[in-house]
């Protein structure tokens, strides 16, 4: 049972808007993952306030889901748990009949929530029968996994579908052909030479959207005494799909690169853990944001802060809808040769400086030897030597102590 909370006494802001022809109560939905594989879990998520869920990926009848355990692993960065989360999970073990039942129940009980299914198959007829069966259940959208990083079902084992431009276009076309009216999103991987080419292939296929992007193929760690990789399955392991805060910058770049070049709707996913991450995803082109790892870590309850934080952000920015955020940052992205060339120098606020001299070491050994020790452990910037690289301000432990000073 969830705890009973005191009702809020504050006026709540409407966060709803339409995207892909679907009404979203707010921009926050659950990604296809263990959290969406069970009817009761999704029910609890909806009651907690999530706008929608993409049910865990399902496939055709008779496909054996050959799982092994443990499947989860963690990249703990110097004390912080689950900075990156690894999994060697596969698709849902539920039969397609069960997924159809779940969709029907959820749409009946929660008609205002977005309920999507995620599918994966190999042959044309399998893709198409999945779409046809699911569309009849009243599902709002179908997401097609072209990018599960392990145990892919396809003609080319070990390779993800979305790593082939031609296979992506062909398969996406099959899916779209079989669809009557609901939107189709293709979930892609950032593990490609040129993400824009993949996005263009999806666009050509006629599919409505991209889900960008799937987990990052990773080796989660090696036990340096036994040499067993993580997760440890009797001394053996394999590559994981990594998610969580560690991959956020990779996803941001993927979304931005697609949004800058291809006119297609994007569902952002991969590393967003809070409302401000979601704002960033939307600012580079995502229409809604899918969450998974933060929910697996802290539970469905994080939706409370996602909604509250987004509401206060919109108030502060005087935006009328979350839609106003979408693509806001794209005009500010430029190619390297288009960036301004200016005179930049480091400036240390001596009143805020606590005298650790970490910037001194960094500049000595990794910068331009432009920081002097000064007096009383308060460093001085040598204006002649400083080129304004900015390393010092990122190693400084005090917020806003070191600024990069620019002659405007």
């Amino acid at each position: 049972m969830d705890k009973i909370k005191e009702p809020s006494m504050y006026s709540t802001r409407d966060l709803s808007y339409d995207f892909l022809g679907i009404h979203f109560e707010n921009p926050f939905i659950l990604a296809a993952a263990p959290s969406t594989d069970n009817l009761d879990m999704v029910r609890r998520a909806f009651r907690a306030g999530w706008a929608g869920a993409i049910l865990k990926t399902t496939s055709v009848e008779g496909t054996k889901v050959d799982l092994c355990y443990p499947m989860m692993s963690s990249f703990d960065h110097e004390g912080r748990k689950l900075f990156g989360m690894g999994n060697i999970d596969l698709i849902s073990e539920h039969h397609i009949d069960k997924v159809e039942y779940n969709v029907r129940m959820l749409k009946k009980e929660f008609p205002h929530k977005m309920v999507a299914a995620s599918i994966m198959a190999g042959r044309k007829e399998d893709w198409q029968s999945l779409v046809e069966r699911l569309e009849k259940t009243g599902v709002d959208m179908i997401e097609c996994s072209f990018s599960c990083p392990q145990g892919n079902i396809g003609e080319d084992p070990g390779k993800m579908l979305a790593q082939s431009i031609s296979a992506t276009e062909l398969t996406a076309r099959w899916v779209k052909e079989a669809t009557k009216k609901i939107p189709i999103s293709i979930k892609i991987t950032p593990h490609v030479t040129d993400i824009v080419e993949v996005a263009r292939a999806v666009k050509r296929s006629g599919c409505d959207a991209l889900t960008a992007s799937n987990s990052i193929q990773a080796l989660m760690g090696i036990d340096i005494r036994s040499f067993a990789p993580n997760p440890n399955l009797g001394g053996k392991s394999t590559y994981s799909g990594m998610t969580g805060p560690a991959i956020k910058p990779i996803t941001l770049r993927t979304i931005a690169e697609i949004a800058r070049n291809v006119d297609i709707s994007i569902l952002g996913t991969g590393g967003a853990s809070n409302w401000s991450d979601a704002v960033e995803f939307m600012a580079v082109g995502a229409g809604v944001v899918e969450f998974c790892t933060v929910v697996m870590h802290y539970g469905f309850r994080v939706i409370t802060d996602l909604k509250s934080g987004m509401s206060h952000y919109l108030d502060e920015m005087r935006f009328s809808s979350p839609k106003d955020i979408v693509r806001k940052a794209l005009p500010n992205l430029a190619m390297h040769d288009e960036l301004p060339r200016r005179t930049v120098r480091s400036h240390i606020d001596k009143k805020l400086c606590i005298g650790c001299e970490v910037c001194y070491i960094a500049c000595q050994d990794g910068g331009h030897m432009a920081i002097d020790r000064g007096s009383n452990r308060i460093p001085d910037v040598d204006q002649e030597k400083c080129v304004g690289c900015g390393l010092c301000q990122h190693v400084c432990p005090v917020d806003s102590c070191i600024g990069m000073q620019v002659a405007a």
Partner: protein, 454 residues
């Protein structure tokens, strides 16, 4: 994202210079008084919170603030959301954030303490409410309205909390208070513990939700209030210092503690206490008085208490703070007379020992030792042995053995339709307990009034 920095530092520089910071200019450079956390410290501390399920901190908080949720919000940078969570459960949020004895409530049960050290919950709470009062209060939703008004007598923590909760439940509320609103935090908590503006952040927010009538309630007015309201909540606190009942009590230089603290707060300049001050009593109020006397310039401040340290019902942090300031604490010392001619010159004391017998409070009873009398020289004696609730219009109310107003579990007094809470029903307690009382009472009053309406 890099953002162009704005704000205070820029003013001093020529206009042609801009500075860029990795997070924008974070609010860490804004320093609050009284060592409040800055944004960076709050973020780092909130990151330590385990976000445990069925969190013991929330259970331990008398007002049951949803602590993991508000800490999670500070972590994500949603500080206004955090303040909203705090205020939803605790109407006197900023005041409690400043002075709540966390060591006996939330922080004492923090799960993280089993791993290393507890989360500084009160500090994070105060950070959130301070930030909110700086940025402006969030808009409340429109509350439903119910016919007829409820009266609250006394605008201290319990009264204010009850009045606000009743407003949330849809009642019109009239608050009667002879002084300005704020009660104990306003009148007798020393300003070094709670600054006026810290309390006012709460009272300014709350006073918009009900009518305040600045009237001293008497028997006639009380009947009138009863006539015009569906129910009454009494929360007048403990206004009267208990007399000590030893010779010399009326000498010049003997001050009841509430009078002393109130004067020290509003007109410290006219308060002349001399160099040597003796405080009689071993509670938190005595410690406040001792620390205040030190701050007013007394050279020697001696606190005498008839039992030993382990029987003292005080917060350790305050006891340590008093000692740090140089207050001398003499245990097992009982005052027998205040000596002096017209003005006092000292306190005659007698040593005590603790017998095996225990009193109703479960503490060992002190017994005076014959022939151990001695005098502590003093220019001022502050009597802090407790307070009582006295008013002629309260005569018809049943009392407890200790003289407090008796209520049942629904906060209902022996008089129909009249409820009571806070110190006047339980004796000297914490602010947060009074706030919790007021909130709970509001719900039983709501039920009572709703039944009447049906």
């Amino acid at each position: 994202m890099t953002r162009i920095k704005q704000g205070s530092i820029q003013k001093k520089e020529p206009r042609s210079v801009i500075r860029v910071y990795p997070q924008g200019l974070r609010e860490s450079v804004i320093s609050f008084p009284n060592n409040t956390m800055n944004q960076q410290q709050a973020t780092i501390e909130s990151e330590r919170c385990l976000q445990c399920y069925d969190s013991p901190c929330t259970v331990a908080c008398p007002t049951h603030i949803d602590i993991p949720t508000f800490i999670g919000m500070i972590r994500s940078g949603n500080v206004i959301g955090a303040a909203e969570v705090v205020k939803t459960s605790n109407a006197l949020a900023n005041t409690c954030g400043k002075i709540c004895p966390e060591e006996i409530f939330c922080q004492s049960v923090c799960t993280r303490a089993k791993q290393d050290s507890p989360i500084q919950i009160r500090e994070l709470h105060f950070y959130a409410t301070q930030m909110e009062s700086r940025k402006g209060f969030s808009r409340l939703k429109v509350f439903s309205t119910i016919d007829g008004a409820v009266a609250v007598i006394g605008a201290g923590p319990a009264g204010l909390s009850c009045a606000f909760e009743l407003t949330k439940l849809g009642h019109k509320v009239d608050v009667y208070e002879k002084d300005g609103i704020g009660g104990v935090p306003r009148n007798s908590i020393p300003s070094f513990r709670l600054a006026n503006d810290e309390l006012e952040s709460d009272t300014n927010f709350l006073s918009r939700f009900f009518k305040t009538r600045k009237e001293d309630v008497n028997a006639r007015l009380f009947e009138e209030i009863r006539h015009h309201h569906k129910a009454i909540f009494l929360a007048v606190g403990l206004g009267v210092d208990r007399p000590i009942g030893i010779p010399g009590e009326r000498l010049k230089g003997v001050l009841p503690v509430l009078q002393f603290l109130h004067k020290a707060k509003i007109q410290p300049s006219v308060l002349s206490i001399g160099d040597r001050v003796v405080i009689i009593g071993g509670g938190n109020v005595s410690l406040d008085a001792a620390a205040t006397a030190k701050r007013l310039g007394a050279e020697s401040v001696v606190l005498i208490y008839r039992r030993s340290e382990s029987e003292m019902r005080v917060w350790k942090s305050e006891l340590n703070e008093a000692r740090r300031q140089g207050v001398e604490i003499r245990f097992l010392t009982n005052p027998v007379a205040i000596v002096g001619k017209s003005e006092i010159s000292g306190v005659m004391c007698r040593h005590t020992r603790l017998s095996k017998e225990k009193d109703e409070s479960g503490r060992r009873v002190p017994v005076e030792l014959k022939g151990s009398d001695f005098v502590i020289d003093a220019d001022t004696v502050i009597v802090a042995i407790g307070q009582s609730v006295e008013a002629e219009w309260l005569e018809g109310f049943e009392r407890t053995e200790n003289g407090y107003v008796k209520v049942n579990k629904n906060f209902h007094t022996s008089v129909s339709g009249v409820f009571a809470g806070g110190d006047m029903v339980a004796g000297e307690g914490t602010i947060v307990q009074a706030v919790a009382n007021g909130k709970q009472a509001a719900h039983t009053i709501h039920e009572h009034v709703s039944k009447k309406l049906r």
